[in-house]
Structures are given as structure tokens and as C-alpha cells.
Point group: C2
DNA sequence: GTAAGTGCAAAACCTTTGCACGTCG
DNA sequence: CGACGTGCAAAGGTTTTGCACTTAC
């Protein structure tokens, strides 16, 4: 049984293959490896972490390929980009929940919590309409200090 | 009339001098020039634009000084930083309005509109508290397509 | 077969930093 | 005077790109 216990979402995989086929793109070994990597990652990860995971599936995946694959994965709804203004961006494998989510970020340890914020849809529509604009997306982020870091800060000062 | 119509806010200037004095810093020629530059800029500007304006007041201001002055200006409430995930950050001279403002950004032409969003304060407090966190700041941004760009996009395709 | 995709390494880009000199107080 | 601030230029670090080689279809 040389078959490793990896892919467990043949449907999502099909969705991805369908997406790239539809766009006239190619299902290369590397692209499929990067896709596979997103299946095996949870939480918020960086491009670098995606590269590492992808390479554990296919050693030939390069950093450039990761960066070239990211727009495809985002466009096909496989992953979501989360930019919290830090040095590097984070990515998140989509799980089918609302696309309207806010981020609660600890300023000290950079931990990110995703929280549903369905009213964002209404807010975006309303505000955009008020200025004759067509809403595309909305972003809501709360920077705070988590319990652990609150204690550490206190004991430090 | 050789006197140009520049500084018109002696009180704000005092507030800045007080702030740096309070922090044990120095009121150097360059710092005051950068401050003065913020008085003569409106809307969203970049560090580079602030440098240019500052140099029009004092030729000796360097790019490094701008970047070193920014945290001071932000800390003293003179300007506010607006990071919309573009290549460079934007800065905005404070006018005394609510610090709880959302940004409405045109995805195509990058124009930024500031809109009051007072409920952000409540939202931040509530969400943070729900996770035992202490809120620090919140950010709400709506990406959209402005009227002009909507027309251009249509006529282009 | 051929055009899209890939790896490598260099480029890009804003921002930060090290260092020696200048200057505020 | 002495420490803080400055200019210059080089470094930093993620993401992008040019180019020649591969490869999916």
C-alpha cells in the first residue's frame, strides 16, 4: 500500500481542477501539490509555510510557483487572504463558512481569531451605495491584547 | 507681502512642541518642518509626499527623518496612519473628528473616502471582551468601484 | 508540437538601520 | 559639552519578474 493517507476531499480537488480547466490553465504536478498542501494546513499560514508544506508533497515546488499559485487558489475560493498589516500576509483554507468574517488580532503575539461578522455585507452595500459605488469586499479588524499577553505586559512593567 | 500663507494653527504647533518636550525629545528644525508640512497637506498622502512638502519648508529634511518623525506625529495625534493594504501606507492630518472612521476605497483608482463609523468602538469592545481581550484599535474598510471607474471598466470590456 | 508553467536568481520596493557628524539645551 | 537627532547609503525582507528549460495536453 504505497498510497499515503493524504487527500480526503476529492470533491474540492475536482472543483479546483474544474476551475483551472475552465480558465484554460493546466493541472501541473506542482499546482496540484500546492492545492493538496492547503488541504493539510489549518489556521492562518504564510506563503512560506505553504511552500514548506507543498514541498513535503512535491519537492520540486518552488517559491515562485507558490506566489504564482496563490491568486488561483484565492480566485477559485480554495483559500482566503488575510492581510492584517503585518510584514507578511496570511492565508486561510476556506471551510465553507460566511465570507464575512472579522479578525481579532493580538497586537503582542500576532495570534489571529476569525469571528463571524455578517453585518459587514449590509454595511458595505449601504456605505458604497451612499457614494454611488459598487461594493466588492469589506474588511473588519480589531487589534487587542489577549489574556496571556495582558498578564505578561503587566508583570513586565 | 513676502510672507506666504502657511502656518495658521499656532495652537496645534504648541501641542506638538509640548508633546515632544514632555517626552524629553528635541524640537529640531527638521521635526518642526515636518510638522509644518502636515499643516499644509490635505487628504491622504504618502511618506514620500510628506517628504516633498517638508523639503519645501526645509531643504535639509531627509527621508530617514520623515520615517523617524512619523511615529511621533502619530503618537501626538497630529496625523493618523491609514493602511489599506496597498504598496505604501497613507497618512492623514487629523482634523479633530472621531477616531472611529472607516475607509471606502476604489479598487481601481485607489481613491480613499473617510466615513464616520462610531459603532466600531462598541464592536471592538464587545468582540474583544467576548474573548477576554483588551481592545486597542479597530479598522473597517470597504473596497468598491467608484462611479467613474465603473464606467471605464464597462467601456473597456 | 507548442504554448503555458516552472525554477532560479536577480530585481523591486518601501522602510529600517548603522555610523559618523551635527546641534539642541 | 554631551546626548539626542540627522543625512547618507546600505541593508532588510517579502513578493515579483526575466529567462531558458520543462511539460501538460
Amino acid at each position: 500500500m504505497p498510497k499515503p493517507p493524504s487527500s480526503e476531499s476529492p470533491d474540492q480537488s475536482e472543483a479546483f481542477r474544474a476551475y483551472i480547466a475552465e480558465k484554460g490553465l493546466r493541472g501541473t504536478r506542482q499546482r496540484l501539490a500546492v492545492f493538496e498542501a492547503t488541504r493539510n494546513l489549518s489556521g492562518h499560514y504564510t506563503a512560506e509555510e505553504l511552500l514548506k508544506k507543498s514541498r513535503s508533497i512535491d519537492r520540486t515546488v518552488s517559491r515562485a510557483t507558490i506566489y504564482r499559485a496563490l491568486p488561483l487558489l484565492i480566485g477559485s475560493g480554495i483559500i482566503r487572504e488575510v492581510d492584517v498589516g503585518r510584514d507578511h500576509k496570511y492565508y486561510l483554507t476556506e471551510t465553507g463558512s460566511t465570507p464575512f468574517r472579522a479578525q481579532l488580532i493580538c497586537e503582542n503575539c500576532d495570534t489571529i481569531l476569525e469571528v463571524d461578522a455578517p453585518f459587514m455585507e449590509w454595511y458595505g452595500k449601504t456605505v458604497a451605495a451612499k457614494h454611488g459605488m459598487k461594493p466588492i469586499s469589506q474588511k473588519l479588524q480589531v487589534t487587542a491584547l489577549c489574556e496571556t499577553c495582558q498578564k505578561n505586559k503587566l508583570s513586565r512593567s
